[in-house]
Subunit: 625 residues, 2 copies
């Protein structure tokens, strides 16, 4: 069992083949993600707080706690969770940047949480007071345990970055209350999983066994249809089949993924390999059959849910941003639990294609859903378009704005996802400019610097900054990187996709260079995915590319000529394409015809960059000529 108190990361299992490094052990120093971390700290946090202040979500804690005149509470029943999530994000950011203003704001918000907490530890601004609906009368939709889960995660982040303090006290009292009400005698689960993973992390932080036990109870209780029947089915809540018996993730994507995180956490801490294997198999099947090429999960707008296997329409792909965050959370847990670097590859894909896409350049706008195909340019001021989560422009806020604080907490803690330690040394999972200093299991200090132009370029340089007796550096060669070359000891070696383990008595200053081939490539979909039959996508490195048009091209008419390989240009590609204008008719079924165009070069750009120049049309899947 490792010491789980001292590591500054969002997920710190007490066992497993890989030990996560804390945000103090890995610091992102430049490049693609450094810029986003900076914008997150300087713009997103303040932007989200300002909206929550304006809408009264932060104020709820004080005004509702005072209770004078039975005040009207603002926002949806789960708005407390957004405040907790932004406090979690602020805590990681404060840990990273030591920003005093953030520190003060966290303390101020914490005192409002404490003021709103009932004497027995219950904490919600939406339920339980004389003039409100009673506590826990609507477990399916009330989100009370969900909110407490986010409170716990905020407290974990705060404590791991700033030490014990009042937020941890609030969280422990709330968790104790949950254990009392929902202990072995109860059958209750929350309609929205989240409390499970949060309780385990609080147990890891505090060493309190009852939190882990309670999480295990919640995981085992799920799937027995204890929640009321609903139009969306019990699957919406993952309450249709017990976690151990399910074969695939289903229903509401974020709910399913959060629950899976909690189940992995419980499995790891209790040594329950059957549970771990079950969840890993569910996730693997979901990845193989229910995931968009971007790594986006959840294809259905109506219930924000996974569709059936291979139902992955690009037209109105949902791929909620929060599901992207949750996928990274789950992949990280499975990576740490299994050591299988496939899961790091999943994180790579989701980070560069969902997370990087969802947030605006200014950090003050975001996508709630991430479509793969925009047919008509969004109209920013027309017909409430900015309110529609399916719209093709990033919006400053939505009525439900879970996604922005979720991205914020991920970005602020991102350095904890890059590198882990195993028994013999360091493993590099995600390539970004970073400085790493840690101690190996035997206590020896080691350090490296990583410099890369990834994801634009494929060059990765790892320089040893601290070393001693022999230890290993393991590099992940991504699945797509056939033809990669490793330059070490003044020799160049071809390396195949998978893990490359280099064990040496490393000298300080010694360098390893990995060259990943970044030629753009055509990608063909499984023939069972009806929605993109007859199409190809183009990828370059970890980036999914797209065709975007600000009016110059009619992307409905686009036909790609796949006889020529795509050519590289910047971080995008050029393909040969025709524009075959379809001829209109009064009925679109019969023997339709089109006027073939002349092949011309077509530039494709990274998907994450779309809709940054104004309203546009876009498509990831390109019909072939």
């Amino acid at each position: 069992m490792r010491n789980t108190q001292s590591i500054r990361g969002p997920v710190v299992p007490s066992r497993g083949p890989l030990r996560p490094l804390g945000t103090d052990e890995v610091r992102i120093t430049g490049g693609f993600w450094a810029k986003r971390q900076q914008v997150n700290g300087e713009a997103t946090l303040g932007h989200a707080l300002a909206w929550m202040d304006e809408l009264g979500w932060t104020g709820n804690f004080t005004t509702v706690a005072n209770g004078a005149g039975s005040p009207v509470r603002k926002g949806r029943e789960f708005s407390d969770s957004e405040v907790y999530k932004i406090v979690e994000a602020m805590s990681w950011e404060h840990g990273r940047s030591a920003n005093d203003d953030l520190n003060a704001r966290i303390d101020a918000l914490t005192s409002t949480f404490a003021a709103a907490q009932a004497g027995d530890g219950y904490l919600s601004t939406a339920f339980g007071r004389d003039w409100q609906r009673p506590r826990y009368h609507d477990l399916a939709w009330g989100h009370e345990l969900y909110c407490v889960g986010h409170l716990l995660q905020a407290a974990v982040a705060r404590t791991r970055t700033a030490g014990d303090g009042p937020l941890l006290d609030v969280a422990r009292r709330a968790a104790d209350h949950v254990c009392e009400v929902f202990g072995p005698g109860s059958t209750g689960v929350c309609g929205h999983p989240e409390i499970e993973t949060a309780l385990v992390e609080l147990a890891r932080l505090t060493g309190e066994q009852r939190y882990l036990d309670q999480a295990a109870l919640f995981v085992d209780r799920r799937g027995h249809r204890s929640l009321p029947a609903h139009e969306f089915g019990w699957s919406y809540f993952s309450d249709d089949v017990p976690v151990r018996k399910a074969t695939v993730l289903r229903g509401h994507a974020v709910r399913a993924l959060y629950l899976a995180c909690g189940a992995v956490d419980v499995a790891v801490e209790t040594g329950d390999d059957d549970l771990l294997d079950a969840v890993a198999a569910q996730f693997d099947r979901t990845w193989a059959r229910r995931t968009h090429i971007t790594g986006g999960m959840g294809s259905r707008h109506q219930d924000e849910a996974f569709g059936d296997d291979f139902v992955l329409p690009a037209d109105r792909a949902y791929a909620e941003t929060c599901a992207g965050v949750a996928t990274v959370m789950l992949a990280q847990r499975l990576l740490l639990a299994t050591g299988d670097s496939r899961y790091a590859g999943i994180t790579d894909r989701v980070l560069h294609n969902v997370i990087a896409t969802a947030i605006g350049d200014d950090g003050r706008s975001f996508f709630y859903a991430n479509t793969l195909h925009q047919r008509t340019p969004a109209r920013p001021n027309d017909d409430g378009e900015r309110l529609d989560v399916g719209g093709g422009l990033r919006a400053p806020w939505f009525e439900v704005s879970c996604c922005l604080p979720n991205i914020a907490r991920l970005l602020a803690s991102l350095s904890s996802y890059l590198v882990t330690a195993d028994d013999t040394g360091l493993r590099l999972h995600q390539y970004a400019d970073c400085d790493v200093e840690t101690r190996l299991a035997d206590g020896r200090p080691v350090g490296i610097e990583v410099r890369t132009s990834y994801p634009e370029g494929g060059d990765v340089a790892v320089r040893v900054t601290r070393s001693g007796a022999p230890w290993s550096i393991t590099l992940r060669v991504p699945d797509w990187a056939t033809g990669a070359v490793l330059d070490v000891d003044h020799q160049r070696h071809p390396v195949a996709p998978g893990d490359v383990v280099l064990t040496r008595e490393w000298a300080v200053g010694q360098e390893i260079r990995l060259e990943l081939p970044m030629r753009p490539r055509f990608i063909r979909p499984d023939p069972r995915i009806d929605a993109v039959r007859g199409c190809v996508a183009v990828e370059r490195g970890p980036l999914v590319l797209c065709a975007e048009s600000l009016g110059e091209n009619d992307l409905d008419a686009l036909r790609v000529c796949t006889g020529h390989d795509p050519e590289q240009t910047g971080d995008g590609a050029v393909v040969r394409a025709r524009f075959d204008a379809a001829l209109d008719s009064s009925w679109p079924y019969g023997e339709p015809s089109a006027r073939p165009g002349t092949p011309v070069p077509l530039h494709l750009t990274p998907y994450h960059r779309w809709a940054r120049r104004g309203p546009s049309t876009m498509r990831v899947w390109l019909p072939t000529a």
Copy 2:
């Protein structure tokens, strides 16, 4: 201006090139639709009434009217409309079958409506009493005017089939109240259109100009964003753009289609050709770009809405049954207003592929949504599947059960959609066994008998049963019927799709025979419909066919060989097809492979017949080899 009081039909314009025939002038005597009319009368009406009684929807009128103890009202805020719709259906059925039980039940329900009506004519069981929310405080979602609209249509049906009576009195008082509250000084419109078309029909029945004026006010008022902003946008309510300025139907499909019906009605009665042309152009564009091959409209589950042009995924086609009914309503109005038999072709397609599909053989189960692709068999008792409107089994009832009474009223009045009269004679639009007797514009009695095996067969025999001086019989040759042959005067003539006008001094007993070619044919989609690229469908006559599997075939692996034309078998077809099993991989994008199968014959059956033998998989669009 024709006499609109004496014609027993649901839509009786006072002018226009075609006069509808009433349900007493056209009687369906056998075949495809006679069976369905019979089941409708004998099973569906009683089934729907029993559910509405059980759920308290019919009882609301009495219990809420009494008001003792502030009784809890049952059902959703629009449940009154379902009761009115079933009364409309019962009225048409009573007119058809003279069933005394129906007559008594209509009278009994009518007295409960009268009891619930306020002194000033306001009628709703959901609003306006001391213990209820106030009248008209939520026009967007309250559905009060929508409900009154259905009351008016019920009263029109009752009056046209049974003469003046208490239901007409209730309706007139309700309509007068609407005119007083929502007259020229108001800006209010209902979130769900329906009152518009209903007011016009009541005006046609009663000759009351103020009802027509009020309908015109509602139509003109729509599109100015007077309803509150909503996540779905103003387009959901068709309140984004004025009716005259819109170019396509958009938003909630049933709302848009009902509004269009009302606009056509207003245009016809006021001689407003600009408005008529605008709506016709919107519908034409919708048919050309936003309609599934079945004629189903509305592709989005989330908001039951039209998607963008060509966003027509088969996977989870919504194609709500009510939208099918509304499409028939609108097509019939445009047929009567323009004389263009294209609109009869639209009705033909929707009747045989949406309406015929939606209702179970026993008349006691129905589809709310009509998918074009079922990937996994529905599980009737699992996970609340029967509650999910997207499920692949017909359900006896849904929480919102608008569709069943909507089909019931259409089926009970269906004979009014088959044949019309023009200046010179009769026009046959839909082919079904029927006896027709009417008088032409000059007062001459004429009659025909139609005998056909349509839609299974393509033979149509028209025998003259009553005649005099020369008059015309016009036959519609459907768009798909290239190669049709007409046998008249002992001669066979090839006839092209379109209208064939035969003017003769017809002798009683003289026969015309039309032979429509019923060879099954491959249909290819417009290349802009991404979701079905690389697929064909097969049609035979007016029927869309489908592949259905009760487990014997994996339809995900199906590949049709289009080198051979489909062969006819019964009312279906046989195509050559392979089953190419896709090879599983851990990620479904890259270079997927499949094991090609050996071509085998594959039977296709009419789409309307799917899911009648138990849970199955199904697809209308067949990937090509």
